[in-house]
């Protein structure tokens, strides 16, 4: 395989390269949406550690990404997924675009490429109403074209889970991948989605996921991120809007990339919402993974919970930044956040920034951060029964992560996650 050096000296400009492609074919509103986004990126540039939320994650290395000549580009890789066992509706995405055959879809479930539905008012209404809060989001927005929309109609409960097999790969001709996934559940709709993401080689992927949960709707959103672990750059920004009585059950198991950041904005706009954003990550080598979650409670009596468990090995580093903001009107809020990290090596690094901003008086909120290594007493207990040290450590590491996987509401999905190797993923 040939390797081409793509030196990106000014990473901002380079990542923006090609954003105007196909612009003239897009509807008017998309054109101005993209132009404005590109403008925003040019104005601010990419974040630097001087920015408040980027203190611990440095994008400097993006300047010298070496991208492979992708021999298999446009050939859909056959990724095997343990989630096939769910007998799901399978949709394959390559660099965010739909590939392969569209499966038969049950009534009330619509899946379509973005550029086939973007003239619709409901699409425009939702996407153009989203605030753009970070340069990564703006960057993605400047390219709005690739990606899919998943929409469940009012009062429809989709029984089969939806499996998105998502692969990223890019070459020197294509410096970055900017997919957008839009998920819309209308009132009283229900769906479970599993995203199995795989990045190949040295890719740069900057995904944006925009989710709208109507009243009484329920979304199970489970992500297995299983990339080639040491070369790629993966950014994922999720925007979640929830209305009255919606339930979001989110879980992601991340095996990281060379550098990755998952940033989640959850806006609890209605009342009595239950919003769970849980996750786990396992990092090796010199991987860096950043989880940044901002939860906003805007109305009374909603529950938000985040539990993240991290396992950091070798010289890897992780960041957890969590902010819960409870606005004036959000009385009766129940907001909890917990981050526990297992440091398996002396050189492993972990930084946390938990934050509570509370402007209402009748609320229950908490946050907690712990980090440490494996418990010696537990290790001794297992070894005293004949379990060799290495295996005992694996068992305890798995158990540490299992605690958060156990929280997944869908029991079948839960069991599959429990069966996945924390160290290796599905590789």
């Amino acid at each position: 395989m040939m390797v081409a050096e793509a030196q990106i000296n000014n990473n901002t400009i380079n990542l923006l390269e090609g954003w105007e492609e196909g612009l003239d074919k897009a509807p008017e509103w998309v054109q101005s949406f993209r132009k404005k986004a590109a403008d925003d990126v040019m104005k601010t540039g990419l974040p630097t550690p001087a920015w408040e939320d980027w203190k611990y994650t440095n994008l400097r290395n993006l300047e010298s990404v070496t991208l492979c000549e992708a021999s298999s580009l446009h050939v859909v890789p056959n990724i095997s997924s343990p989630f096939i066992d769910l007998k799901p509706i399978i949709v394959q995405l390559f660099n965010g675009s739909f590939v392969g055959e569209m499966p038969d879809l049950p009534d009330g479930l619509m899946i379509a490429p973005i550029n086939e539905v973007w003239t619709n008012d409901w699409f425009k209404g939702f996407v153009s109403s989203l605030s753009i809060d970070t340069p990564m989001e703006a960057l993605n927005s400047a390219f709005l074209n690739d990606g899919i929309v998943i929409k469940v109609s009012e009062n429809t409960k989709i029984a089969e889970p939806l499996l998105l097999l998502s692969t990223y790969e890019n070459s020197k001709d294509m410096l970055s991948v900017m997919p957008r996934i839009v998920i819309i559940l209308e009132n009283n709709a229900e769906l479970n989605i599993v995203e199995h993401q795989s990045g190949i080689g040295s890719y740069v992927c900057n995904q944006a996921t925009s989710i709208n949960l109507g009243e009484k709707s329920k979304l199970g959103h489970y992500i297995l991120q299983d990339n080639d672990r040491t070369q790629g750059y993966l950014f994922n920004t999720t925007k979640l809007n929830c209305y009255d009585d919606a339930v979001y059950d989110g879980f992601s198991l991340n095996h990281g990339a060379k550098l990755s950041r998952h940033e989640i904005f959850a806006d609890l706009l209605g009342e009595r919402i239950e919003c769970i954003i849980n996750g786990a990550y396992n990092l090796i080598s010199t991987q860096h993974h950043d989880t940044t979650i901002k939860t906003g409670h805007f109305s009374p009596n909603s529950i938000s919970k985040q539990i993240y468990k991290g396992v950091i090995n070798h010289e890897a580093s992780a960041v957890f930044q969590g902010r819960i903001c409870v606005h004036n009107d959000a009385q009766g809020t129940d907001g909890h956040q917990l981050n526990r990290t297992l440091l398996l090596s002396e050189k492993a690094e972990f930084n946390a920034k938990p934050e509570l901003k509370i402007y209402a008086d009748d609320v229950k909120c908490s946050h907690g951060v712990t980090s440490g290594d494996l418990n010696d007493e537990e290790l001794f207990y297992l070894r005293s029964r004949g379990i060799p040290e290495i295996e005992a450590k694996q068992i305890l590491t798995k158990a540490f992560v299992a605690e958060v996987i156990e929280g997944i509401k869908d029991s079948v999905v839960r069991d599959i996650f429990l069966s996945i190797s924390i160290e290796e993923g599905t590789k």
Binding site: Y381, R383, S384, A399
Partner: protein, 268 residues
Amino acid sequence: MRAQLGRKKESNYKMIKIKDLHASIDGKEVLKGLSLEIPKGEVHAIMGPNGSGKSTLSYVLSGKEGYEITSGSISFDGHDVTNMMPEERAALGMFLAFQYPVEIPGVTTINFLRTAINSLRKARGEEEMDAISFLKLQKARTAELGVTMDMLKRGLNVGFSGGEKKRNEVLQLVMLEPRFAVLDETDSGLDIDALKVVSKGINSLRSAERSFLVITHYQRLLDYIKPDVVHVLADGVIQKTGGAELALELEKHGYAEFEKNQSNGAVA
């Protein structure tokens, strides 16, 4: 003072030989020249005041990290195990029922048992136990001990009552079938009925091929598990050794006699 007064058995082969063991933790010497021999097939009991070093002995026997053995040795069935790792000792057939079993969330008792059995088999060059044989064994043993399926499916010891934890230790004992077992206050926390059940389980393992070291504060346990020999451990050494009647004596008079020794017993 350290004479072996144990009742003579047919076999006089020493399963365990502890010679002049000195062990410290965090710079504090806890075992101060302890010697003890347990012949094959015998049950020995150790009694002694709080803090005298009984649990320390059990940990040092099973190879827990953090203890510094400054001199002396431990041999098991002819192997010098003094510097062996805990899993190696287990593979040879040594076992410790903990005074305070730890809770391990996320590891179910049943999976733990299976992993332990198969680890031991693997280390001994034996084939893994298949799922059906394991299930059979587990069913028979849990029924004997009144361990419920619910307990087996829960995280290891998580939320178990004090008595349930002890039963779980004995369940592991009867499933792993070691050749030498240390029981550290297995009776504490057990109600009267559970004590009978657990003792029955332990007694079922008694054989000419197996030795036990039973650490306890109470004669009551020894009514069920009749020891061949009773030792008094105080201030880090065996201060007295006798037959089963020694336990009754201690019950009456306490350890006052040895406390005296304790203050005089200067470190060598």
